[in-house]
């Protein structure tokens, strides 16, 4: 059985190799089926969206920080959304908030992060020629592209894009009378999200299949790098939860266009009573958050996986508690499905349900805490090299702690009564899921750029970028805790109507200035990224002296990744600074039989087994040669 699959694989790879010479521009860069190029396509599209999403946030931060400012100079861009008095239109403000959320959560941190690194790294790190289905993988990107185009168009229509918050709760999102964005803008939002879900599912099925079936010889699940574990579990979460979002969206489409009453009931709006009865807006919230909460882990787990890899490599130490890390990720995966209603403590659902979800929610803090302690212990007594990727990974751990701890307040339903939908929540999720995942994305780009483009990014620009962004993010989101404790509600266009919020204009101004500086700092990254792509220093084979498989490929791997045989894996991916070893890292492809000086007692026993396997393998190779 095993011999047969090895043989098949080789023939297949051979075919690929012949094809490669005929690649033209379109099959190489556009309708490509090479996982590495698809990963890069996701990355560049993600970067594009990150700029848009970031820019939208700057627009509404201008309104919040400088409510008196004359925004006439934005008229060439925003047209009628600037009122005659030179202020931002309140409806458009809500549209900005909505689109910022949608873009960042789905298009940047789901597609841009998972799409990029799952595609790029899974085959490279497990030792596969490509994804299980290159064609589906290509479809996955192009569905995402189509979704992006539709969402982008919705930004420019006359009634404005969707404006009901990124959660698009009905009835607001179902009724055009309630807000103009719930007209065509919302229709486009729903269509775009449908394609997005299709893209995620196509990608997810591929990631799962590839990890299960196409691991190279010796790459057992207990030898997978934590990145792959993270991508694998992320795909599982996505596969189980995105269809539920689709169901929620579908019912919303019915309510909007076909007169059903899934979410609508007893509504009097625009001077008339609507015929809908019997529906429940809370039903939508349940369905939405059944995806919405796992979604948090869909964006966070890949970032944590990347961080594990980067921290271990640059600490020159094995990741502490490899098994504990996997178990805690499994725990998070399972628990992520049974905590969703903590977003709904004061939605009017039965308070008893609130109690249950409070218990479940606070349980999920335990595996998260374990991960943090493991990261800290990995750093302890390491030999730390501060590459930009390492800096961003440490930054991620900091955000994960800061944002995670505030989750303990919000997961407690009694405390959540006051904090729900205030800036405390905004601070919480921007740190723990927004910024942390974003830092994971950046860490990944800095770390695997040499593998992607065969060149190095400039480290010093990376340092400047890191420190500006790291300090900037804290300056933006830390003050929001104070504003939140003071009770400032989210999605408010202005604070002057209420006495209890008629303060902190200085702090809001500070936050806005910090946001602008942080946003500007991202252009350092953009320059570094695109400049290094063409003019960066040439990369060496294994610039970070890492143990994982992707660094055994040529500097610019072709389609099929390894020119000859796929290497066999003999050990786990974290043999850094092993006592007795010559170098401070031993790649996964080095057999134990070659490192008698550093083998641990139980590994010494594996040597014998290893030699048997190698013998068997060479017989297969000989047999293959004879066939040709």
């Amino acid at each position: 059985m095993a011999t047969a699959s090895v043989a098949n694989h080789d023939v297949h790879a051979h075919d690929h190799h012949d094809h490669e010479h005929h690649d033209n521009f379109i099959t190489k860069y556009i309708f490509t089926q090479d996982h590495k190029m698809i990963g890069k396509q996701f990355l560049v599209t993600g970067i594009f969206w990150a700029i848009i999403g970031g820019f939208l946030s700057i627009l509404f931060r201008l309104q919040l920080g400088f409510p008196e400012m004359n925004l006439e100079w934005l008229r060439p861009l925003l047209g009628g959304w600037i009122t005659e008095t030179g202020a931002l239109d309140p409806t458009f403000y809500l549209a900005l908030v909505t689109m910022h959320g949608t873009i960042m959560v789905f298009f940047v941190l789901t597609a841009g992060l998972s799409g990029t690194f799952s595609n790029f790294l899974i085959p490279l790190q497990i030792g596969a020629r490509d994804m299980a289905s290159g064609f589906m993988n290509m479809l996955s990107y192009w569905f995402f592209f189509l979704s992006s185009v539709i969402m982008f168009i919705s930004l420019f229509i006359k009634t404005g894009p969707a404006g009901g918050g990124w959660v698009v709760y009905p009835p607001l999102s179902a009724l055009e009378q309630a807000i103009p964005g719930s007209g065509l803008g919302m229709t486009l939002w729903l269509i775009a999200m449908t394609f997005f879900i299709a893209s995620s599912l196509l990608g997810g099925i591929n990631y799962i299949t590839t990890v299960i079936n196409l691991r190279t010889k010796g790459m057992s699940f207990s030898r997978l790098p934590l990145t792959i574990w993270a991508f694998f579990l992320t795909a599982v979460i996505g596969l189980l939860s995105f269809p539920v979002l689709f169901a929620a969206a579908l019912l919303l489409v019915f309510d909007r266009s076909f007169g059903t009453s899934f979410y609508l009931s007893d509504i009097y709006i625009g001077g008339e009573a609507l015929p809908n009865t019997g529906g429940s807006p809370v039903l939508y919230q349940h369905l939405f958050w059944f995806l919405g909460h796992p979604e948090v882990y869909i964006v966070l787990l890949p970032a944590l996986g990347i961080t594990s890899e980067v921290i271990a490599t640059n600490s020159r130490k094995p990741i502490f508690g490899y098994k504990a890390m996997i178990i805690s990720m499994l725990g998070i995966t399972i628990l992520s499905f049974i905590v969703w209603a903590h977003h709904m403590f004061v939605s009017g659902m039965n308070p008893f349900l609130g109690s249950i979800f409070m218990f479940l929610t606070l349980i999920i803090a335990v595996p998260s805490a374990v991960k943090v302690f493991n990261y800290l212990t990995t750093l302890w007594r390491g030999n730390l090299i501060f590459t930009p990727a390492m800096l961003f990974s440490i930054g991620l751990v900091s955000f994960f702690i800061s944002g995670g701890l505030t989750g303990i307040f919000l997961g407690n339903s009694a405390i959540d009564i006051q904090l729900h939908d205030t800036y405390f929540v905004v601070a919480h999720f921007h740190l723990v899921m927004g910024s942390a995942s974003f830092f994971g994305l950046l860490a990944g780009v800095y770390h695997w750029f040499p593998k992607m483009f065969g060149r190095m990014m400039d480290a010093r620009l990376g340092y400047v970028h890191f420190w500006l962004t790291f300090v900037g993010v804290y300056m933006v989101f830390f003050p929001m805790h104070y504003i939140g404790i003071a009770g400032f509600p989210r999605r408010y266009y202005s604070w002057t109507n209420f006495e209890f919020t008629n303060m902190y204009t200085d702090l809001n101004m500070f936050v806005s200035v910090a946001a602008i500086i942080t946003f500007a700092a991202q252009f350092i990254f953009l320059f570094n990224f695109f400049y290094s792509m063409y003019r960066g220093r040439k990369a060496t084979l294994n610039p970070w002296r890492s143990t994982t498989l992707e660094w055994t490929t040529p500097i610019n791997p072709g389609h099929g990744n390894w020119p000859g045989e796929i290497p066999t894996v003999y050990r786990w991916p974290y043999d850094y600074s092993k006592p007795g070893a010559v170098e401070d890292f031993i790649p996964q492809t080095v057999p134990y039989s070659q490192t008698p000086e550093s083998n641990l007692p139980h590994e010494q026993e594996l040597v014998k087994l290893e030699e048997e396997i190698m013998k068997e393998e060479s017989e297969v190779l000989v047999a293959n040669e004879n066939k040709h």
């Binding site: 309630a178 807006p281 508690g321 939605s347 090299i385 501060f386 440490i394 009694a414 509600p489």
Partner: protein, 345 residues
């Protein structure tokens, strides 16, 4: 002209940054520092982590102490005292964890920064440690959850029988308030009955509705339980009374509720804050459209005697607008007429 000058300035700045960048790249190539495992920047980054820790730590403590009275809203309800206490206990627990983990996270980079002649310790796992740091957070969180759960159960328990009922209805973009009148029972309503003169859609064929009255603000007695019956007419809204530590969504088609006991009258709070203008406010915390940020209602907390006096002064819907009773069945019309004649006395 200004635009042109700014353009030139930006161009100049960019080219200077470009030159500096090129020069430092070339210098590092000449020095060969790009070939080293860790260049001099390693030390700088390590130091910056410590500076960041100290700098932001000082900033955080300074601001948190200086601003305490500003962001800590005074509390004016019985359960609010408990939830505030839970908040600060959680703050203390998480604060300790926050400080310890961050000190470790930023001191380790300094202490264990790369040295060529040192080798990192090979320390792949320790099951005892894993068990400890799974169990300890587990126990601490269990404690927090249990206290939170007890508070939550009390807060969300059914309101006492004698609670004063107030109905708050959200719509784009304001709140309407209805009182049940002397019987303390709100009359039925139906959204299809809503008209310009009957914004609540009150069903006046229900005899409980006869004495219901509207109010421009929420008036409630101090020290007595108050039950907010909350509903929405068009889209989701959320009643948020920050000083009462009260929040509950208003859902079209699904009435919700929240009961509490106010502990300070508006006058007392004015004296406490030394602010004669102070009012308790209700704001909306569920995005509901263009005017989301302006849905304000004032709550006035008064002494129980003043409350009874105020109640007696209020005029019911029918007294304010007799035409509402016009199409009622004979039996109900009689009740309505009695009311109308009472108000004329």
């Amino acid at each position: 002209m200004y635009g042109f000058l700014i353009g030139v300035g930006v161009l100049l700045l960019l080219s200077i940054i470009w030159m500096v960048y090129r020069i430092q790249t070339l210098v590092s190539v000449v020095k060969g520092s790009d070939k080293k495992v860790a260049s001099g920047s390693n030390k700088i980054n390590a130091i910056l982590f410590v500076l960041f820790l100290v700098g932001t730590g000082i900033l955080m403590f300074w601001y948190s102490i200086k601003e305490f009275d500003n962001y800590q809203l005074p509390v004016a309800s019985e359960h609010g005292v408990i939830t505030d206490q839970l908040f600060w206990v959680t703050m203390a627990v998480t604060g300790v964890v926050f400080l310890i983990t961050h000190i470790l996270l930023f001191v380790f980079p300094y202490k264990y920064q790369y040295k060529e002649n040192r080798k990192a310790s090979f320390y792949p796992d320790n099951n005892k440690l894993e068990v400890i740091w799974t169990a300890v957070p587990g126990v601490v969180l269990a404690g927090l959850v249990l206290t939170g759960w007890m508070a939550w159960s009390d807060i969300t328990a059914p309101a006492p029988e004698n609670a004063h009922v107030v109905e708050i209805m959200g719509y784009q973009f304001a709140w309407d308030v209805r009182y049940p009148g002397k019987d303390n029972v709100l009359g039925d309503y139906d959204y299809r009955l809503i008209t310009a003169s009957n914004s609540h859609g009150v069903d006046f064929t229900d005899k409980n509705a006869i004495d219901d009255f509207p109010s421009p603000k929420v008036v409630i007695p101090k020290g007595e339980p108050v039950l907010f019956k909350i509903r929405a007419r068009d889209v989701l809204h959320s009643v948020f009374a920050p000083h009462m530590r009260l929040k509950m969504d208003a859902v079209p088609g699904m009435p919700t509720r929240f009961w509490f006991v106010p502990t300070k009258t508006t006058e007392e709070m004015r004296a406490e804050l030394n602010n004669p203008e102070f009012e308790y406010e209700i704001a909306c915390t569920e995005i509901c459209g263009r005017g989301h940020f302006s849905m304000k209602k004032v709550i006035e907390v008064v002494e129980p005697e003043a409350y009874q006096k105020w109640l007696a002064e209020q005029k019911s819907f029918i007294q304010q607008n007799p035409s509402l009773a016009e199409n009622l069945p004979a039996e109900m019309k009689e009740l309505a007429d009695i009311q109308l004649s009472e108000s004329k006395k």
